[in-house]
Structures are given as structure tokens and as C-alpha cells.
């Protein structure tokens, strides 16, 4: 038994999962429980997400301490983990003051994540461009800007690196940050096997700079010290041109993500004005795709 338990409080946000804050014997806990629908076809079940969290925790990655997996919590699966203290709202983190060490700390956590043993997590899948194309085709709307992005990703693919365990959604909005810097990495449901540069560049996507567009690393810093620290720790020697490629891939993924989120509303799976409007706001991401392609010399 965990001792006296407080009344659970449902926290705001979380499109596809519920998050409940609860204190057990004075210890702050967070219960992550399945919501109505699924955000994305290729997300992990909560059971698998819990296993990834366990592996990351054992490897010394800064994550909330995993406590227990619950197969049936009033009809849905859930798991319990430590509730870390700190800021998790991306917009507020970017508004600052940004802890000076945050970029380097992000690189350090990524280096640890990319060293996780894939054999330990046999359920993780490989990501492919074809998978993105299939998701776009399922939406069924014509989006020439996204097609151009996909075309460039096929044409310009850098030499393939050995796939590693990637977080899959590594951006400032999924971190817990306090004055001293990075406290924890959250939201592991997109973990899969992929090129390590994919995770490194994912947070560059303009939509996740929360308005601080001049700071390419998630609105909080410059890329150079971050990349340098990562390369120093991993020896992977990731080059800036690879980051350009994966930044574009991140934008293409999110542009398609906006459309699939809107589909959840349109198909009646999860009616919400918040999901509906993403179908239109995806145009912002499409514009960014065009902007990045222009920078690559496409005309």
C-alpha cells in the first residue's frame, strides 16, 4: 500500500491521454491513463511506454521514476510515475529566463537515450517515409506542399545511420524544466527506432519554438553548443546538413499530424474544436516546409 491517497485531480492538456495528479503518503504522483482515441496510429500502448520509461530510468536518463503499470483502471490501461516539479508548458519555458545549461543538458539526455539497448525493447518499430505517405493518403486531401516535402526527403536522404532507440517527440514542450535546467523528459509514446539525427533536429520545428523563431533549438538556444556536446558524447559526428534534413522531416511529420488530428474530429472519433482547427493551422507548417525547401535551393 502506498498510504493515504489524496483525491485525484485531472490535469489540463493531453490530447490523447489523461493525466491525473495524486499524492500517496505525501509523495507526488502522476497517473497517465488512456483517453478516448489514439493520437496517431504508431504510438506505443501505455504498457510499452511504461517499459520504455523503465529502461530509460535504469540507464540514468532524467525521467519521472516509473512506479507501476495498471492494466485496468476503470476500464482503461494506465501507469503511475513520479510527478516531477518544474515547468512543462513550452511557451513559458521559452519566455524565460532560460537556464543557461538547458541546450547542453538536452544533448546529454539524448546521448543517453540513443545508447539504450534496442534488444531490451523489441516492440519498437522502424519509422519510414512510406509510413508518413500512408498516413497522408488516409486523410485523402491534396496537399502539394507536403508532397514537395516528401519528394525532397526521398531525393536527399543522407547516408543511412544505424538506427537507435529514439524518443520520437523530443522538443521543449515535452520537458520538465526548473531554474537549474532540465529536470525530466516526458511523453515517450512516440519512441521508435530511427536515425539519431531525427531526435536531434525534431525540436527545431518552428511550431515548437513557441514564437522565439530566431532560436532554432526549440526557441531556447543556438544549435552549435548542443550539437557539439552531443557529438562529443556519442562520437556519432552528426553533421549540420543532416540536421537540415531531419528538421524538414519533422515539419513534414507535423504537417501530416495536424491533418490526422483534425480527422479525429471530422470522423467523430473525438469531437473537439481544438482538433478541428488544426486542420487549418497545418497551413502554417506547410508554409515552413516551403520556406525550408527554398533555403535548400529548390525553386
Amino acid at each position: 500500500m502506498l498510504g493515504p491517497i489524496s483525491e485525484p485531480v485531472l490535469l489540463p492538456g493531453g490530447a490523447s491521454k489523461e493525466a491525473w495528479a495524486v499524492d500517496a503518503a505525501g509523495e507526488p504522483l502522476l497517473v497517465r491513463r488512456a483517453g478516448g482515441g489514439v493520437i496517431h496510429r504508431h504510438t506505443l500502448s501505455l504498457r510499452h511506454e511504461f517499459e520504455v520509461l523503465q529502461a530509460a530510468h535504469e540507464a540514468g536518463v532524467k525521467v519521472p521514476r516509473p512506479i507501476t503499470y495498471i492494466e485496468d483502471l476503470e476500464g482503461r490501461e494506465a501507469f503511475v510515475m513520479e510527478r516531477l516539479a518544474g515547468e512543462t508548458i513550452g511557451r513559458r519555458i521559452v519566455r524565460g529566463p532560460v537556464p543557461e545549461l538547458l541546450p547542453v543538458q538536452m544533448a546529454e539526455e539524448l546521448a543517453k537515450i540513443h545508447a539504450l539497448a534496442p534488444e531490451r525493447l523489441p516492440f519498437l518499430e522502424d519509422a519510414t517515409i512510406e509510413r508518413l505517405v500512408a498516413e497522408l493518403d488516409e486523410v485523402g486531401e491534396p496537399h502539394p506542399a507536403i508532397e514537395l516535402g516528401l519528394w525532397w526527403l526521398r531525393e536527399q536522404r543522407p547516408p543511412k545511420r544505424e538506427p537507435v532507440v529514439v524518443h520520437g517527440d523530443f522538443r521543449v514542450g515535452n520537458l520538465v524544466v526548473d531554474e537549474s535546467g532540465l529536470v525530466g523528459v516526458l511523453d515517450w509514446e512516440f519512441a521508435h527506432l530511427d536515425d539519431p539525427a531525427r531526435d536531434l533536429a525534431f525540436g527545431f520545428v518552428r511550431a515548437w519554438r513557441f514564437g522565439a523563431d530566431d532560436l532554432r533549438l526549440g526557441g531556447i538556444g543556438a544549435v552549435e553548443p548542443y550539437l557539439e556536446r552531443y557529438n562529443e558524447l556519442t562520437g556519432f559526428d552528426v553533421r549540420p546538413v543532416e540536421l537540415d534534413y531531419w528538421e524538414l522531416a519533422g515539419n513534414v511529420g507535423w504537417a501530416i499530424g495536424c491533418l490526422t488530428q483534425a480527422q479525429r474530429h471530422l470522423t467523430g472519433q473525438d469531437r473537439s474544436v481544438e482538433l478541428a482547427i488544426l486542420g487549418r493551422l497545418g497551413a502554417e507548417v506547410e508554409y515552413e516546409i516551403c520556406h525550408l525547401l527554398e533555403r535548400q535551393g529548390v525553386t
Partner: protein
């Protein structure tokens, strides 16, 4: 078909939000009344919208299919970018300001 959600689908989403998420939380008599009036007004908007001719997206479909097939002649990006900018003037008019000076 025009871009999704269509104007009517957006109005419908707002209607549902007001009716099922906002209205039940309102105790104030005056606010309840005005929310019901707002829902009536949205109903008028939706009936007006239903009379518009749907946008023909055949040209966009053809362009998307050509790019998918790898047929990307010079000028394709410029055309696509201008079309996205046009959509942004409706969906998020201030977004383009973020590119000033870049």
C-alpha cells in the same frame, strides 16, 4: 471539396462546443440566454454556408499527384508556396509576419 474543416464544419464545431461544453456550465440567466442567441446566430451562418458551391480541388489533386510521381519542374515550389500563403490569409493571417526579415 474545399479545405477541411470546411467553413460549415468549423461552424458546427463551435456550435457543439457552445452547446455541450459551455452552456451546461452557465448558471447566470443572462449568459445562458445570450449563448442560446449565439447558437441561433450560428445556425443562420450554417444555413447560409450550405448555399455556397463547394470549392473544386481537382487542380490541387492533379498537382499533388504529379509531385508524388516525381514530376517537379522549376517553378513548382514558387507556385505551391504562393498557394499556401493564400490559404494562410484565411487560416492564420498574422503567421506570415514571422518570416519578415528572414
Amino acid at each position: 471539396m474545399s479545405e477541411r474543416p470546411t467553413p460549415d464544419e468549423l461552424a458546427e464545431a463551435i456550435e457543439e462546443f457552445l452547446a455541450s461544453e459551455i452552456l451546461p456550465t452557465l448558471d447566470d440567466h443572462r449568459l445562458r440566454f445570450r449563448t442560446l442567441v449565439a447558437l441561433n446566430a450560428l445556425g443562420i451562418v450554417r444555413r447560409e454556408l450550405s448555399k455556397l458551391t463547394p470549392v473544386d480541388d481537382a487542380e490541387q489533386r492533379e498537382l499533388a499527384a504529379r509531385i508524388r510521381a516525381g514530376d517537379v519542374p522549376t517553378g513548382t515550389l514558387a507556385r505551391v508556396k504562393a498557394e499556401v500563403a493564400e490559404r494562410l490569409l484565411i487560416a492564420s493571417p498574422h503567421y506570415l509576419d514571422r518570416y519578415e526579415g528572414e
